[in-house]
Symmetry: C2
Subunit: 392 residues, 2 copies
Amino acid sequence: MHPHQDGPLARLRRGHEDLVLDLLRKHGPLSRAELGQHSGLSRTTLSDIVTELIESGAVVATAPGTAPRRRGRPVEALTLNPSAGQAIGIDFARRAVHVSAVNVAHEVIGSASEPHDPGLPWEERIALAERLVGTLADGALRLDALHAIGVGVVGPVGDPDAGPAQPCPSADLPALLRKRFEAPVLVDNNTRLAALAEATWGAAAGGQDVLYLRLSHGVGGGLVVSGALHRGAYGLSGEFGHIAVESGDGRCSCGATGCLETVASVGAVLAAYRRAGGHADGLAALLGALEAGDPVALRTLEAAGTHIGTVLAAVCNAIGPGVIVLGGELAAAGPPLFEPVEQALRAHIMPISRDRVDLRPATLGEAGGALGGIALVLRESPLLSHYPARPG
Amino acid sequence: MHPHQDGPLARLRRGHEDLVLDLLRKHGPLSRAELGQHSGLSRTTLSDIVTELIESGAVVATAPGTAPRRRGRPVEALTLNPSAGQAIGIDFARRAVHVSAVNVAHEVIGSASEPHDPGLPWEERIALAERLVGTLADGALRLDALHAIGVGVVGPVGDPDAGPAQPCPSADLPALLRKRFEAPVLVDNNTRLAALAEATWGAAAGGQDVLYLRLSHGVGGGLVVSGALHRGAYGLSGEFGHIAVESGDGRCSCGATGCLETVASVGAVLAAYRRAGGHADGLAALLGALEAGDPVALRTLEAAGTHIGTVLAAVCNAIGPGVIVLGGELAAAGPPLFEPVEQALRAHIMPISRDRVDLRPATLGEAGGALGGIALVLRESPLLSHYPARPG
């Protein structure tokens, strides 16, 4: 565990550590002498750095090779410790906890999920998270090299004026997690984190300006702007589900009327399908009807998709993203949803932008929030200067 | 003129220069000894820095005071050169050139404008800009300390794929300006620059997340996100005028239909007023009718304001700005416009955000684009690390 320092010397040292880790990542096992040649660091500095990396569990010194050497002691090889977790992501969703971890090579070591009752107390959710983390890497996950934990929660995060109820549903959450895992904790909204994950490892990997829309029991989203997670002036950003739609007059959970959520959430689409004479006791049945070519189901999705595309066009004109990612359970509807979305998007976006925006289905699924927590740590933790190139 | 260097040593040196300039700004005239005490720099380093600042014209060494001293040579006092321009902003608008300059204390030395025929060739526009710059500071503007020029142009800027016609209307513009002024040139869209200016010195001074909407012959805008000018993935951002509005079916100059611009530009509002039976040969007449309480004029502005507020609410839900600034000629309508805008904004924004957003009239007027060019230089030029605190 490294102290949470951010001075110039700590940053310089961290830069050296990153350099060494990077070389081991790129070249595989290296001797100290080879590391010295590649890094250009002095023998003393390198020795300090390697000692600390071994102590933290990030690097292991493997047994000397048996190859005969002319003289001197056998050469020790340094390698990255494959089971050393460098960052953990935890998504405290409404009805489930999701966890993921990456090692020092920024490879995902594993992910795990467990559903729970929405009323489960926070202490038990945290215990559940801890248990799930323990199952990662076949139970061999070492937390010695852990830099930070990125945590996703439901609801707005990041309003400096919002008082003690913020910045997470349980005011004690970061403190409790910090105590359990002995690492700094970064918290953000889990849908926004899913946006960051899609822009890091998912459908929009490498995208600098990404719009993520999640069509689930609620409709939300997130924005990545110039490569960074966008938060807005008071912690509200990406609330695409509460943009008013033409002809929308349904009362929304947010207190307003006519929000996109009232016509494009899973519940709203199911209700519209039933009003039109369709029979479905849940999303699975509706998806089945779509697959079977049920014209009522197709028309229902077309109407929802048109609203979605119109709202997306408005947001695109405002912020010009390069990629739009559609996620959430409703996105599983596929072309019957994506085609009307695309059509309305093209109809209402500025013609000059029409061919500049890609619409893609999300690829990370339920793990998005937890992976986004890791992406947050890798991008924003003051201790980690390296951007993850290909961690998945 | 400093070479356009950005290495660690150049940055360190620049940091020292900024420190010295800052001390002179704060304390007024200082001797070298006093500068040494306040800055903590070594005598040698300080001497180098001061010599360079005097050579660049940023600092002047004033005649030694006549006060009697006990021994040694008289004490020379160092002061900021009030007429040394550190950054120039030029706005090449459709029918006018606007220029502004700030000195090394980041105070606006002066602004100047001259209208011209929209067909004026670029060479002549540049000559006009040069002439206008020459009139600043009563013609005493010195360009020796000039760090960079920030230039606003009409149309999209910043699309890496757009080919040679970009990044400005005249592909040679930056090169021509660089040659004339012997300084680096930064170019951006002039409406976006006006947004940056309002967020720096205008209605939203100090705002980190600002939405600027300009209601003129076109309807455009700009976003400041987390303190930085937002550009979007392909150079299009803040195109609020091309967001579709309910009931909008007019053909827009962008090629789409139903854009906000078709109901909220100066021309569209005048046309709507005339269709409703009003008589006005121009905006001035319409503003006069509003002032006189003409109910047709009031209803016309109410309709436009409602569309504007609805679009603003959608954008606010997406990006959560802290301040909205309304500028452009139509903003001069005042309360008859602002009240319906505010009402529709409050009606359609998420209730949780209702009291978090401030709607304000722009304060910088026509100079906004040129001032924004300066703000761009002060924020983004690699040579200037200091953010302007109170330059106006």
